[in-house]
Symmetry: C2
Subunit: 114 residues, 2 copies
DNA sequence: AAACATAGTATTAAAAAAGATACTAATGGG
DNA sequence: CCCATTAGTATCTTTTTTAATACTATGTTT
């Protein structure tokens, strides 16, 4: 993570960036943001190409940042549910802004190629 | 770059993400967004820890995406100026949203630790 | 008793990103 | 002729991310 004491503003962008960088994080967030809580294997099925390891790592990281909660139900076989937090929902506007910019950029680059 | 045909919305977020991920891209953008055009060495001085190689690579990538222009003045020693494009300026609102979320997140995590 | 299901962990390997260091071209100045 | 200046390249190494594969625990079902 980039730290730049001379430039605290920049630093904040990087803080925000760190919530969503990681090969599978945007898609994990997407599934949890507009949906029910999901079990580990449900996420795995929704994101077929992710490995269990990557899924675990990304989920734990998001949990650490209070973006989602991990709830273990004491059953066998295990049941673990991942649920977006209230706080995690505050990512929504940022993601929407990015999504819009991205959509526009796709158009922009198409035009440029002509 | 993540491609996910079943989920075009996600894809757009990743498109936007790709404009600003890269260890030094946010700070390069920051310097060019609210300032004069800058020469290669001026940027290098503003970002002392970056290597020439990384600076070149990031600048070329941003140029490819039409975020900035590279102008070579036929002089010796060479003078090359990097300038944000009109289009590049459209990143501003997105970056601002991120910066605000980041600032808030720093506070949020502080509170959580207490 | 063996197989199954879920939610992982452990280990090793490959790929991608970043860093270190040395080198280049062209011209002006001493 | 030699040095300085600017904006890079070229190579090679290190670090960081991601992938592949095999393994585990524990009750339930057959």
């Amino acid at each position: 993570m980039l730290k730049d004491k001379k430039n605290p503003q920049q630093c904040q962008i990087v803080v925000a960036l760190n919530m969503i960088v990681g090969k599978w994080k945007p898609i994990i967030l997407d599934h949890l943001l507009h949906g029910e809580p999901l079990r580990f294997n449900e996420l795995k099925k929704l994101i077929p190409d992710i490995t269990q390891r990557m899924l675990t790592m990304h989920l734990r990281e998001l949990e650490e940042h209070d973006i989602l909660t991990r709830t273990v139900y004491p059953q066998v076989p295990p049941k673990v549910e991942y649920r977006i937090t209230e706080y995690g929902m505050t990512l929504q506007p940022m993601l929407k802004t990015m999504q819009q910019w991205g959509a526009n950029h796709i158009e922009h680059m198409k035009e440029k190629d002509n």
